[in-house]
Symmetry: C2
Subunit: 105 residues, 2 copies
DNA sequence: GATTAATATATCACTTTATGATATATTCTT
DNA sequence: AAGAATATATCATAAAGTGATATATTAATC
C-alpha cells in the first residue's frame, strides 16, 4: 500500500492519544485501557514510533521539564494528517460494511 | 500491537473486497478505484496476502474453473474476523475524533 | 535511610509485513 | 501472429513492529 500519508494502526492509536499532551508511558497505558486490553503497544513500538513522528513533525516535544517524563503533542500538521486518515478509515469501514450486508444468494 | 485478530489495512481492504467472489487482479483494481487511487496494492502484496489468508482460512478458493482466474471468497470465519475488525476500527476513529474535538486551551 | 516496586525512556536483535521489479502465461484485439 | 491487456506468481529488499532487556528516576514501605 502506498501514496499519500497512510497511517498504520499503531501510529494512528498513538497520534490519537497525542491530541492531548502525554508522555510515552501514559500513551501506552491509555491505549491499553481504552481498548480494554485488546490492543497493546509495548515500549519498543512506542518509542520507535515517537522517534519517527518527531522526524516527520507530526508531533513535537511539548514539555521535558520533568526529569523523567517527556510529553509530546500533535503539531498542526499532525492534526491534519490524523484528520485525513480518519476520513480514509471511514471510507474503508463503509466499503467493508457494504460488502458484508449484500447478502450473497 | 498484538493480541486477538488485528487486521492490517492492506488485509482489511482485501477482505472487504472478498465479501464478493473476486480474483486477485480484480481486487487490486477495485481497491484502486474505490479509493480513487489513494490506496493501491500491487501484485506482490496482493498474492502474498491471499496466500496467508488461505492458510488462516479467512478466504477459500471459490472457483478456479477458468484457466487464468482464481476467484476467492471470505469464509464464515473470515466474515466474523472482518466484522470484529470493523468494530475495532470504529472505536479507533471515535477515540481520535474525541481527542481532536476537545479544544486544547 | 535502605530496599523494593512502579514509573519512564531507550535500544538491540529479530520477526513479520509490505513491496518494486520482474517473470511467465493466457486471452483479446487488430 | 504480434502486441496489449489480463492474471498470477516469486524474489530480494525495505519498512514496520516487537520481545527482551537495560537503565534511571521517583514513590512507597519497612
Amino acid at each position: 500500500m502506498k501514496q499519500i500519508e497512510q497511517l498504520t494502526d499503531s501510529v494512528f492509536y498513538i497520534m490519537a492519544a497525542l491530541t492531548t499532551p502525554r508522555h510515552g508511558y501514559a500513551v501506552m497505558n491509555l491505549i491499553e485501557e481504552t481498548t480494554k486490553g485488546t490492543v497493546s503497544i509495548g515500549p519498543a513500538s512506542m518509542y520507535t514510533i515517537i522517534k519517527k513522528l518527531l522526524q516527520q513533525e507530526f508531533i513535537y516535544l511539548y514539555d521535558d521539564s520533568d526529569s523523567r517524563r517527556k510529553t509530546y503533542l500533535l503539531t498542526e500538521k499532525g492534526r491534519e494528517v490524523l484528520t485525513e486518515d480518519i476520513e480514509r478509515r471511514k471510507v474503508m469501514i463503509q466499503l467493508a460494511e457494504n460488502g458484508l450486508k449484500e447478502e450473497q444468494s
